[in-house]
């Protein structure tokens, strides 16, 4: 089974995430799309890990360790990011990203 299938699937999922970030204005949905992009990259890393393991490399599990660390960072990021979103909502009663333009002027 070609690795190309996994490459294409990861590209499609990543681009769906990019489209969501660009199209939606709800901060929580944008955050979820970032998670989707991270997972597309994780899937590709795991596919390449399997590919190198089949090719006979003994250190191919390093990619899976990398995925593990990406999950760790994503969990920490979600905790801080949702706290920020809750604070913004508390201050302005909205999670629309268009109200967060105070840095503009």
């Amino acid at each position: 089974m070609p690795v190309q299938y996994y490459i294409f699937l990861s590209i499609v999922l990543f681009c769906i995430g990019v489209m969501g970030v660009l199209m939606r204005r709800n901060a929580i949905i944008i955050f979820m799309c970032v998670e989707l992009m991270l997972n597309a990259v994780n899937l590709l890393l795991v596919a390449f890990s399997k590919m190198w393991a089949d090719a006979g490399r003994v250190d191919a599990s390093g990619a899976q360790i990398f995925v593990f660390f990406i999950m760790v960072v994503a969990a920490a990021e979600v905790a801080v990011g949702l706290a920020i979103i809750v604070m913004v909502y508390r201050n302005s009663q909205s999670v629309d990203i268009n109200i967060m333009n105070r840095l503009k002027n």
Binding site: I11, V12, I28, E35, V72, A76, V86
Partner: protein
């Protein structure tokens, strides 16, 4: 056409994951988006199992479906956002986002269509078992492991300080 069982499972999982990923960005209700994203995560866990990453599949379900998405659901329900309030003005921005995302998709697909990679063998390998990963993690990656624990501690402190009322 002779499709192996592996390819059939891959196709079904991929179709489900792409449709539910589209549901994340197209649904009006944020709670529906969260549920679609949970379905996507479960199909990605299925892909992990097919790629001999059993430990990662379990950790993925526990961390994402069990912790992160529950956190999202808590925040959405806490802020009472389950009715869509996104105003529909400036529709051209949506079209611009969709077009630029689609252009990125086309560029990446075209660039990697002819990528020279070796195929995946259908047989099982023990690369994703927890004993192998544990040995790798605690032999070669001890320092990043400890640094990530400090990262978690600082993220926890940061979330508490940010979330505190009238800091």
């Amino acid at each position: 056409m002779g499709m192996s069982l592996q390819q059939i499972v891959f196709g079904v999982l991929s179709i489900i994951s792409i449709i539910s990923a589209l549901g994340v960005i197209l649904s009006k209700n944020p709670v529906t988006s969260v549920l679609c994203l949970i379905v996507t995560f479960f199909t990605i866990a299925g892909h992990y199992i097919m790629l001999n990453a059993q430990f990662l599949a379990v950790v993925h379900i526990i961390v994402y479906a069990g912790a992160i998405m529950v956190l999202f659901l808590f925040v959405i329900m806490l802020m009472n956002l389950n009715s869509e309030i996104e105003p529909q003005k400036r529709n051209w921005l949506k079209y611009a986002g969709a077009i630029s995302g689609g252009a990125l998709l086309l560029v990446l697909l075209g660039a990697l269509r002819e990528a020279d990679v070796t195929p995946i063998q259908p047989g099982a390998s023990d690369i994703g078992l927890i004993s192998n990963l544990g040995k790798t993690l605690f032999n070669q990656y001890v320092v990043p492991f400890e640094v990530s624990s400090i990262l978690f501690l600082s993220a926890m402190v940061g979330a508490v300080i940010i979330g505190k009322r009238e800091a």
